[in-house]
């Protein structure tokens, strides 16, 4: 594990995270309650409380490349239970957003990341989600063409897969939102 020696870099990173988070990392006293209740802790490389400590220590590369930030399903169990009221779920959002902006692609969890990207592209194109197109594009991008395909016939029969999507009338406004905030 790489430890951080440059104090200025550490401070910059902590300041960036805290301003996006609207919360202070020093609030966390490492009790571990967040990690104990996290439903996906068994798959993570670092527990949520470790991510918090490593962020505070300025271990930027390690947290931004962790599996944990992409495995987190934003269930909010951690934040709800934290005795200090720290935004644990929020820090996962913030670290994902920083990783995304830096163009870091997760080595092990790129499917999760790609799903979010394809999802937002779909919103940008139609203003609403067209599920069939979303799934198709996601499969092309991840090359998992056949995974879950066995579900399709029955879903079609049940009327769960619509063949046509809806596009909103004021798509210009959606384009503007993306232009201003993407």
């Amino acid at each position: 594990m790489k430890t951080v020696l440059n104090e200025q870099n550490r401070r910059n990173f902590v300041a960036q995270v805290e301003s996006m988070l609207h919360d202070k990392l020093s609030k966390c006293y490492q009790c571990g309650k967040c990690s104990a209740g996290c439903p996906v802790n068994f798959e993570m490389d670092y527990t949520p409380n470790q991510i918090i400590k490593m962020t505070e220590l300025g271990m930027e590369d390690t947290v931004l490349n962790s599996k944990t930030i992409w495995l987190c399903v934003s269930c909010n169990t951690c934040s709800t239970r934290c005795p200090k009221g720290f935004e644990v779920t929020g820090i996962m959002d913030v670290l994902r957003e920083i990783a995304e902006r830096k163009g870091i692609t997760s080595k092990t969890e790129k499917e999760v990341q790609m799903f979010h990207e394809v999802f937002l592209d779909n919103v940008k194109s139609h203003g609403r989600i067209f599920e069939l197109e979303l799934v198709g594009k996601y499969k092309l991008k991840t090359k998992h063409l056949f995974r879950d395909m066995f579900l399709a016939p029955k879903m079609l029969e049940k009327g769960k897969l619509k063949m046509h999507g809806e596009t909103i009338s004021n798509l210009n406004q959606i384009a503007k939102i993306f232009k201003d905030f993407e």
Binding site: V73, N76, H116, L120, D148, M155, K158, L161, I177
Partner: protein, 292 residues
């Protein structure tokens, strides 16, 4: 009161059963809701996962349109949508700078004066228990129902402001109104894996499996939900979970609106109950037998 309806994308696609059944029961109760004109996707989990501002701006457009049209209250039956709408409203209230940026971008004001309700909140708070009780024509006495809340209805509590985040009871109360028996079990607020259904199916099956087996082991005949993501994971993935863990589950997953509809005596077909992947035939038969 002028009531806005924000369906969201799932209710127009994979979870159409939810929309069909909720509109049916509202019609039966004489409650009128109007779809927000030209609504857009709330951005769901994808937006907040990688872009905070987009995650506020996308739902904000829907809220601003509803407010402009004079609605006083918004019903967002999808738990993920109601979570995102409430979250946007919360952030716009606390962050003036972001609010300015967003209302400028939308070219619409927003005053945060509407109440935003998930399905359970709407049924208990806007419709009211008395009204619902008066509609029950065919009590479901003897049916054992496990309410599954998942994450998004109750967490984070400071934003959702709804029920108890560790031990919610609202859906169980609605179940009791139908005459059915609420099942007490351990996983009612455990996460089903939600958004990662397509990208991490194995993790999702592990989480969803725990919920299903626990509900079943506590004697449930059926599980009720108020979230299309929960429904997809519990219903669509159930066969695969049975195969993976080599143990039959066979639990039909109904939306709370369908269970209410059945107790109102509405035909199951009109509630789109045949739209689920796990057939509810056995439960429907049990209801018929119990009512004899």
């Amino acid at each position: 009161m002028k009531l806005a309806y924000y369906p969201g994308c799932s209710l127009k696609g994979t979870s159409f059963e939810y929309e069909v059944s909720l509109l049916k029961i509202l019609e039966a109760m004489g409650i009128e809701v109007k779809e927000i004109p030209d609504w857009n996707c709330c951005g769901a989990s994808a937006a907040h996962s990688i872009n905070h501002n987009l995650a506020i701006a996308l739902p904000a457009r829907n809220l601003a349109i509803a407010e402009k049209d004079g609605f006083e209250s918004v019903l967002a039956p999808c738990a993920a949508c109601s979570n995102r709408l409430k979250n946007a409203d919360y952030e716009l209230k606390r962050d003036d700078i972001l609010k300015k940026k967003i209302t400028n971008s939308l070219e619409m004001p927003y005053d945060s004066e509407m109440s935003i309700n998930n399905m359970l909140e709407f049924l208990i708070g806007v419709v009211g228990k008395e009204k619902i009780k008066s509609m029950v024509k065919k009590p479901l006495a003897g049916l054992k129902v496990a309410s599954y809340y998942g994450c998004l209805l109750v967490r984070p509590p400071k934003v959702m402001q709804f029920d108890d985040p560790e031990n919610p009871v609202t859906m169980d109360e609605l179940v009791s109104l139908t005459g059915a028996e609420p099942v007490d079990y351990s996983y009612k607020t455990e996460c089903c894996g939600a958004i990662n259904s397509l990208s991490k199916p194995d993790v999702v099956m592990a989480l969803t499996g725990k919920v299903l087996y626990d509900a079943k082991n506590h004697g449930a005949d059926v599980v009720v939900v108020a979230c299309p993501l929960c429904h997809s994971n519990l219903d669509v993935r159930q066969k695969e979970i049975e195969r993976k863990y080599e143990e039959k589950i066979g639990l039909p997953i109904l939306f709370i609106t369908e269970l209410l509809g059945l107790s109102f005596g509405i035909n199951p077909k009109d509630l789109a109950i045949d739209g689920h992947m796990v057939a509810a035939d056995r439960v429907l038969k049990k209801i018929e037998e119990l009512s004899k």
